[in-house]
């Protein structure tokens, strides 16, 4: 017999905050998750602020709904976001399969694929810093770094994560793909390595700093003191 609650939790772990490139389960955004004996799942999500951007918030709720619904044994899924300025539009829209444009009538002109693409590209740039930085510290120079392919990098979570992000946006991700690539997938030349790595590090600092803000704000928002005040 499968452990349905564990499977549901694992499915939620595949849902990323697109801006932070981290699973919503690690970020403590999943406030509650209950599974009934008949396979009905109810998930409650929460975010660091009342004004977190509605487009990213929508993606997380919709992705969580899709991920949970796809788990074998789940008969019905209800995912709702609490304490958010657009809770009503988002929760109603996801439940009605209305898409983003349908959920925010008159306020949006397109679905969120392009937005998602932009943030996967950012994650793929930051990932190059995560993998290359230890090699720079070991003394590898621009010539060697420019020659490296993904096959040269020891397997790790970080490497798999980079491959996944690249695959999702159509960048080379197989073993013969260069470690350092431009946004269009072309190889970074030796002369371009220093600036490229500066950019990759800045991108990583940007994403990780946002993550730190969000974690701090979430912790404060749902602290005991905050609950006492409400």
């Amino acid at each position: 017999m499968t452990d349905l609650p564990a499977e549901v939790w694992r499915a939620l772990g595949t849902v990323l905050d697109p801006e932070l490139d981290e699973p919503i389960t690690d970020l403590d955004f999943v406030e509650s998750c209950t599974v009934s004996p008949s396979g009905e799942v109810t998930v409650g999500l929460r975010l660091p602020t009342f004004f977190c951007a509605p487009n990213f918030s929508f993606l997380m709720v919709a992705d969580a709904y899709d991920a949970v619904s796809a788990v074998p044994g789940v008969t019905r899924a209800v995912v709702s976001l609490a304490d958010h300025h657009a809770s009503e539009e988002i929760n109603g829209g996801v439940a009605a399969h209305a898409g983003f444009v349908g959920s925010f009538e008159g306020e949006a002109t397109a679905e969120l694929d392009e937005l998602r693409h932009v943030f996967l590209a950012k994650a793929a740039l930051a990932g190059q810093d995560r993998l290359a930085r230890p090699l720079v510290d070991e003394g590898l120079g621009p010539d060697e770094l420019a020659e490296l392919t993904l096959a040269d990098i020891p397997d790790s979570m970080e490497l798999r994560r980079l491959r996944d992000r690249r695959m999702a946006i159509g960048l080379p991700y197989e073993n013969d793909a260069p470690l350092l690539v431009h946004p269009d997938g072309s190889r970074v030349t030796s002369a371009q390595v220093p600036l490229h790595l500066r950019r990759a590090r800045l991108q990583r600092v940007g994403i990780e700093t946002n993550g730190e803000y969000c974690k701090s704000l979430l912790k404060t928002r749902y602290s005991e003191e905050a609950k006492a005040r409400a």
Partner: protein, 354 residues
């Protein structure tokens, strides 16, 4: 002025407020937004040192006496620049309007600059208001909050044709400094509202204006830096960077400062306390004491000297706003040529060292 170890620092708080988020000011039927907004600020407030935390009730609205004590008596601030944020959709009399800020001019007119604002969606009426405000307050700067709600609209971009008309008018009215604050919403909602590409275009097209990107473009610091390195009239407003990270996340504060020093440079960074999200005292004192950590991961970031701290804490903003600086607080040599430290990298002339 702040004095430490024989060094005198002239302090310009380039981003401060005098807001009214009291319950009496919440618009009926929009209470959840008014509360949500100030709760969000209060979350940031709590990222400061615990001994500086206030009760939520006090946080809603401070008195002129609180302001005087927090800024001028205890806060070391010589000159403060008020940035307005209207939010009249949620706050009856506005969250923080020019008029609210200007109440304090009678008492501390020699230490305060009141910045204006405009909203390109307000058309002719908005244009007339801007002209009137510019004349009345002799405006040198405006603050633009691009995520402001206005009727059914959730925001605007600086590149909207109407926004260009206002920028043109602002320039003709003698306004020099445009403080841009990005927020979570913009029309259409499917785009990234924090994207600073519109500031890039506007900065290129309006060379007579300086664009101070508040909160250094957070949460898009990378987009901001890539842009700022190429635009000589773009500045980094440090409010929220110091207040939100220096105490709560010191390692990330060091990284962000390192990146800003590298890409934007110490001549184009301006301090702002974001009062009363936080008080300036601990931020000024902390920044003066701060050093880049010795750890290897920070090794190739530029260092902050005493001179750089003087620039960031006041001299850079004093230059933007023509605020006279006492001789004892000036630097021995004037730094009239702003550095563009990352320039050689952008032009691909960098050395081999990554």
């Amino acid at each position: 002025m702040y004095e430490k170890d024989g060094e005198k620092y002239f302090i310009v708080d380039a981003h401060s407020h005098f807001w009214d988020a009291s319950k009496e000011n919440w618009v009926e039927g929009k209470e959840q937004y008014a509360k949500g907004w100030i709760d969000c600020f209060y979350g940031y407030h709590q990222l400061g040192p615990p001994e500086t935390h206030w009760d939520w009730e006090k946080y809603l609205k401070v008195t002129p006496e609180d302001f005087e004590r927090d800024m001028f008596i205890e806060g070391h601030v010589d000159h403060a620049i008020f940035q307005s944020t209207y939010l009249k959709e949620w706050y009856k009399e506005g969250f923080n309007t020019i008029e609210q800020n200007a109440q304090l001019l009678d008492r501390w007119g020699d230490k305060l600059i009141v910045n204006g604002r405009f909203d390109p969606r307000e058309g002719d009426a908005g244009m007339k208001q801007l002209e009137a405000d510019a004349k009345k307050y002799n405006l040198k700067g405006v603050k633009l909050y691009t995520a402001e709600w206005n009727g059914a609209s959730r925001g605007y971009k600086l590149t909207d044709p109407e926004a260009y008309e206002f920028l043109q008018a602002a320039q003709e009215l003698g306004i020099k400094n445009v403080h841009v604050h990005k927020g979570p919403t913009i029309w259409p909602l499917d785009k990234d509202a924090f994207d600073v590409a519109d500031v890039d275009h506007a900065a290129t097209d309006f060379q007579g204006l300086n664009f101070i990107v508040e909160h250094v473009g957070l949460p898009r610091i990378e987009d901001f830096c890539f842009m700022a390195v190429q635009e000589p009239n773009v500045y980094a407003g440090l409010s929220v960077v110091v207040g939100g990270l220096m105490h709560a996340r010191p390692k990330f504060f060091a990284k962000v400062m390192g990146e800003l020093l590298f890409w934007v440079g110490e001549d184009k960074m301006t301090f702002g306390s974001d009062y009363n999200i936080w008080t300036p005292k601990w931020q000024v004192e902390g920044l003066v004491d701060w050093q880049m950590p010795d750890d290897d991961q920070f090794a190739d970031y530029p260092r902050l000297t005493t001179a750089s701290k003087k620039k960031i804490l006041g001299l850079n903003a004093a230059k933007l706003y023509d605020i006279p600086v006492p001789a004892e607080c000036q630097l021995p040599t004037s730094a009239d040529e702003p550095m563009q430290p990352g320039e050689e990298l952008v032009e691909d002339k960098a050395g081999a060292q990554a």
